[in-house]
Amino acid sequence: MLANLKSNRAWDSRLNEKKRRCNAVNKLANGKVLATDSFVEALEKLIVAGDRVVLEGNNQKQADFLARKLSQVDPNIIHNLHMLMPSIGLPEHLDIFEKGIAKKLDFSFSGTQSLRISQLLADHILEIGAIHTYIELYARLFVDLIPNVALVAAYKADRNGNLYTGPSTEDTPSIVEATAFKNGIVIAQVNELVDDEADLPRVDIPASWVDFVVVADKPFFIEPLFTRDPRLIKPIHVLMGMMAIKGIYAKHQVKSLNHGIGFNTAAIELLLPTYGEQLGLKGKICQHWALNPHPTLIPAIECGWVETVHCFGGELGMEKYMAARPDIFFTGHDGSMRSNRTLCQLAGQYGVDMFVGSTLQVDGLGNSSTVTHGRLSGFGGAPNMGHDPHGRRHATSAWLDMMQSQNPVDRGHKLVVQMVETFQAGAKPTFVEQLDAVEVGKESDMPIAPVMIYGDDITHVLTEEGIAYLYQAKSLEERRAMVAAVAGITDIGLGVDSKRVAQFRKEGKVAFPQDLGIQPTQAQRSLLAANSIADLVEWSDGLYDPPARFKSW
Amino acid sequence: MSNTVLSRGDYWFSLLTKGAKIRRGQCASIKVADGDILGQVARFIAVVPDAKNKYPRAAHGEVGLLEGWTLAQVVHEVIESDKLNSNKTAIIAIIDVPSQAYGRREEAFGIHQALAGAAGAYAKARLAGHPIVGLIVGKAMSGAFLAHGYQANRLIAFDNDEVMIHAMGKESAARITLRSVTALEKLAASIPPMAYDIDNYNKLGLLYKLLTITNPDNASDNEITLVKQTINDAITDIIKHGVDLKCRLGGKDRHTSVVVREKMRAHW
């Protein structure tokens, strides 16, 4: 037989190691509850140099107490960690590297810290494994990046370790699952500890998946990233919103969709109850959403446009409103919303007909990126929504509308829409010959350029100039010319012959506002269903409670 | 200037009110005296530092809550007591105010309203026929100046480096206009209304007289007489020309203010 080939390794080394570490903190723990003031000492026993540590944090909630404490451990004891971080949003996240506690980083998104990451990378203080999209990173937690330790955040825990994560459940289930079921150690920071399970609104993560809880010195940090003040929406956003509704949403009868963050999409949300209503579109478009709880969606919900919304995460101030609209949002038996980033990303990838997003740069072929010189911002979730998933098999009218050939085995296509003004503030052209991402990729020794959304996934580019229906392009050359036709007076836009543009408009490959029956001068803020945060509160019957920084009363 | 003198404003208040009747009972930061200026009956008013000010943000001679309302009170007294007189008491505002008071209590308790009380009282007095002369001996800054002095019929200033008239201190102005202090100073040199010095201010035509006083903290008898005489001349001039502020519109660097008024009248 092949007995001599059979390994005689131990099969439970991870389990034994976990037991060893847990025993080491016996004196610092009361059951599963670790003391707040000796927590750094506990961390030094629960984490071992060279570990893979997943630290929860994303667009919204951050396990900031755990990050702060991790940055205080002794680098002589704990070093060389390999950090897995969905998002790098706090200074402490990078202090861990600067202090030599961690060395390698796999991440997905870095908003405010993107400049510093670039610097640390250049100084060889950190190594980057790869920049991922959110679900790509979660996927690898189950394959080749299985964590030894997970550091997560919850609103509440009981003494047994049951967690209530509520509207901000977000990444926690995926991170905990990858760790707990591979004999890693799960540590949760909580805002509040209760004695008994009955004192939790509901259990989002069962106690048996959780090893330790610690009460944080202050509630976890949460960023109201998806709140857009309607006051800042300009007439040009209204114009582009009107074009989107008439020239894309109505044209293709888009029923399910995802919106990125930005004033363009906020304008669309606020135009549905007014302009959309005028066009008689209610019940025909925009019924099902994979979307964070955007406050600007409140008027459309209140007017009966929206059937369902599944959320990646929560949004500060929206809790009471969502709880009061359980037919629309996913809520638990306790009434509070439950988000789930992984599942919502999947919903946004496979379940919806359209993604509409914005970006900083688009090249001639429609490739786009938010990475510009000196900023390694990562991708977050946009590429998951902003691509055509080839695994999709169900058909909808919008998806089928993208089919261009008579080929008997052709398939539909998700609508992937880039909505950008031709120039950014400060007269920076949005349309460029080459994305900055190409150079940045080279400078950072990345194997591929950090492109956010690839041109061949894009079906529409919408600018204030017009809409290019790129799915109709017959060739790469035609695609380029169609992008140029709506690129205004950027160098890209100046590169297309006006006769050709006229021909595109005649063929319906490009539509200017006038071709859609929209007079640009109609685009006024008075068309918006809400002009201010105060209006949104009023629409919500006082249920929406905006964060202080958005209040002006 | 002796040690018991609180400020330059206080020093000139003392010089001008020798033998006058000092009003008591109001907050220590407002000095009031009734006397005369070369025979012309006058009430003298100065804002001075009070280290023990009940409102600590107004301890250095700033015009704060108490100061604003007290100015309103002591000016109204003059209006009231002369109500039936055709010869109106003159009011001499001695101006040395570094700023209005900046603070939480000030905003919350309505310092804007307190300063409106002061400015309104001076304006009412002027419209009632009281000749008002503002004597700028030191700083005349921003809201403090609006409350104490800018409603005068005539403004007299000393030609001196420490005499400064402006809307905002340099540091704050630089921050608000997103400039460096150096850049601000450079601009101020070429844009008269931006300047902090009294010579440039004089070009705006807002002053009745600019007086040369060798040492405003230790004036000679001749200089004191000159100041008194100039104030007295100003009062005569006011009585001759009426209660409005038209005399401030003659400056070449304030010409547009005249053009706007002419056109507004034409279109009215």
Partner: protein
Amino acid sequence: MPNRDMSFIELSARERARRILDQGSFRELLDPFEKITSPWLEPQGIVPEFDDGMVVAKGKFNGKPTVIIAIEGVFQGGSMGEVSGAKMAAALELAAEDNRSGIATQALLLFETGGVRLQEANLGLAAIADIHSAIVDLRRYVPVIGITAGTVGCFGGMSIAAGLCSYLVVTREARLGLNGPQVIEQEAGIEEYNSRDRPFIWSMTGGEVRYKNGFADIIVKDSVNDVKTAIIQCMNKGLPDTLRSDDYDYYLQKLNAIDTSKQADATLVKNIFGRGDRK
């Protein structure tokens, strides 16, 4: 749905003036086509505006002769320069002359201003002094009504002008204060005044507390019709018995009674100045 006819805050200064005045009666004086722009901004490399951010219009309000003077808060933060200041002062002076010659021209002032335009510093300050003078003159004959709606609010020397008005109308989004939050923080420190703490700023200077504490007379919703109704209410009251700016006895008595050994908060302010009838 927000229950209102039309947002007032949303409107430009010109539209505010046009919509307040009786329909068809709006006539702008020194309109933008006259191009009387600031002589001081261009030499400093700053783009001017044709009306210098000040709209003066004559017309009728509720059938009565009215001049409305509206500051455009978007241009240079509604700041007062030589031209914009002179436009306001001149209009007020002419309204007072009208009254002296038997025409009861009333004045509405729409404040949306940070105060002096620092690029025209001393001329802005001088113009504000003229405005103060003209309000005090005119309010002897007719009520001078100030309105501050937001989003800029009313600050600096113009908050003094607001304090001189016969009546003051605010929205809850308005702020009314002498010194801008940034400047107070700069001068007095963040402990004294945190300019980034919006709820704090509104709890000190917001329209609602200004109304409740008696520094404004009427609070209205952000609605053109409600603003107009409030103006009619003020006009119907006629000249006030006591002007707020003449009420030194009341304020001195309050200010002297306050214990200033501890810092003020919103509750303390309410306890001292709160008007019982304003909930």
